[in-house]
């Protein structure tokens, strides 16, 4: 018997009797198969569930299906409008080939500390909806490659509030290097007369999971944006980053990079105020 099923409706989840490995775009699964992992898994192809490919604009929220791809995020203008950090992360994610296949649901479930959609979703206050429950993204990740998902629990949608705020994403690292070696920063805030409000900062690839930089957020809250404040915020971010590797010089390097990315984002914003 083939160890494979394909479902085309969410309701069919109930019919699954055994533990399965969901298959969406396959861009994380196939490299693992190539290396001889996942051989005994029973795969469940979810790519045919049409309702999970849609993005709906509701009154207060954006409801994004788990099968929406990074290419969809670039092409559908609602993302740039309501979730600019997510849009900016899609622009620098993988290659055209990867973006055409890689889904947001797969990126979240894979729970890599360098998953590019994750820092944006943190700062956009996303909620992750599954077939069983809805959870704040802050409570979704347990460690590298670990989430709160139970066996056969499927991410169905990502819910983002449509608040009027700005958000940004930047990723820096050696070109053509593995995605994991690139540090990233996402940031969101409201700007009222030059003053920052409701600041959120999240860091990718500097810890076992994506991290919120809470000290930096507290420092920036209510501050008037200036060169001095930006410099100080960069220093605080660098002290908050907890690089994954113990390798000393790399760890120091990653922290510095996180700090300088944050400074770059804010400097760009400051120019626009002036």
């Amino acid at each position: 018997m083939e160890k494979f099923i394909k479902i085309s409706k969410l309701a069919d989840l109930k019919k699954i009797k055994n533990p399965v490995k969901f298959l969406a775009g396959g861009t994380d699964i196939y490299p693992l198969l190539k290396d001889g992992f996942l051989e005994n898994e029973f795969f469940c192809d979810i790519s045919g569930i049409k309702e999970l490919k849609e993005t709906k604009i509701k009154k207060d929220v954006l409801e994004i299906g788990a099968l929406v791809t990074f290419s969809d995020v670039i092409e559908n203008p609602v993302f740039k409008k309501y979730a600019n950090a997510l849009y900016e992360s899609a622009l620098v994610m993988g290659s055209p080939q990867i973006r055409n296949r890689a889904t947001l649901g797969g990126n979240i479930a894979n729970a890599s500390p360098s998953g590019d959609s994750i820092p944006p979703l943190f700062v956009l206050k996303a909620k992750i909806k599954t077939n069983l429950r809805t959870v704040d993204i802050d409570r979704f990740f347990m460690g590298p490659k670990k989430t709160i998902l139970k066996k056969n629990e499927l991410i169905t949608r990502i819910i983002i509030p449509k608040e009027q705020k700005e958000s940004y994403f930047m990723k820096v690292g050696p070109r053509k290097a593995l995605a994991i070696s690139k540090v990233s920063v996402a940031m969101a805030f409201k700007m009222q007369k030059g003053v920052l409000k409701d600041v959120r900062v999240a860091l990718g690839a500097v810890g076992p999971t994506v991290l919120r930089a809470k000290k930096t957020e507290d420092f920036l809250e209510g501050k008037h944006l200036s060169d001095r404040i930006i410099k100080k915020a960069g220093e605080i971010v660098s002290s908050e980053a907890m690089p994954i590797d113990d390798f000393r010089s790399l760890a120091v390097y990653r922290r510095k990079v996180a700090g300088s990315i944050l400074e770059k984002i804010l400097e760009g914003r400051l120019k626009w105020v002036r």
């Binding site: 394909k6 396959g26 861009t27 490299p31 790519s47 993988g94 080939q97 296949r101």
Partner: protein, 152 residues
């Protein structure tokens, strides 16, 4: 599992393991060996094919997801012995050395030019960023893409 799709304009059916890579189905079941395997991990683009107008890595593509799709491989581009204008431009510009990356490069170029008639250098680089070439240093490849652009 039986899977049916359109391959280079013809309706086809295969009966195979649903998790088999589209790359292996193309090469083994259909003898279309123009699609190459480089890394087998989504990094080099040698296995690129066009599925429903989008460029994808066939080494990461489960054949079960080809059901009902339209797939174009490099063999579907030329008209019998007559080369496609993109293929001609690649030869004329000297953009082919060992040729291993060429099928993927040509298909990625086709998707780009189908969408944008006059891409900038930046847009060309971006569109080909998932295709690695170990021989040419890319300059001649970009020239080739511009050559097609001028001819059109």
């Amino acid at each position: 599992m039986k899977i049916s799709f359109k391959l280079n304009g013809k309706r086809v059916i295969v009966d195979t393991d649903p998790m088999k890579r589209l790359l292996d189905v193309l090469r083994e079941d259909f003898n279309l060996t123009g699609t190459k395997e480089g890394c087998g991990k989504g990094e080099c683009g040698a296995c690129s094919v066009i599925v429903d107008g989008k460029i994808v890595n066939s080494c990461l593509f489960p054949v079960c997801q080809a059901e009902g799709c339209e797939i174009t491989t490099i063999e579907g581009l030329s008209d019998g012995e007559k080369l496609h204008p993109i293929q001609k431009a690649f030869i004329e510009a000297g953009a082919v050395q060992c040729g291993f990356c060429t099928p993927g490069m040509v298909l990625a170029t086709k998707v780009l030019l189908d969408k944008k008639k006059n891409p900038t250098d930046e847009e060309i680089k971006e569109a080909l960023s998932g295709n690695l070439c170990r021989c040419t240093g890319y300059v001649k490849i970009i020239e080739a893409v511009k050559k097609v652009r001028r001819k059109k």
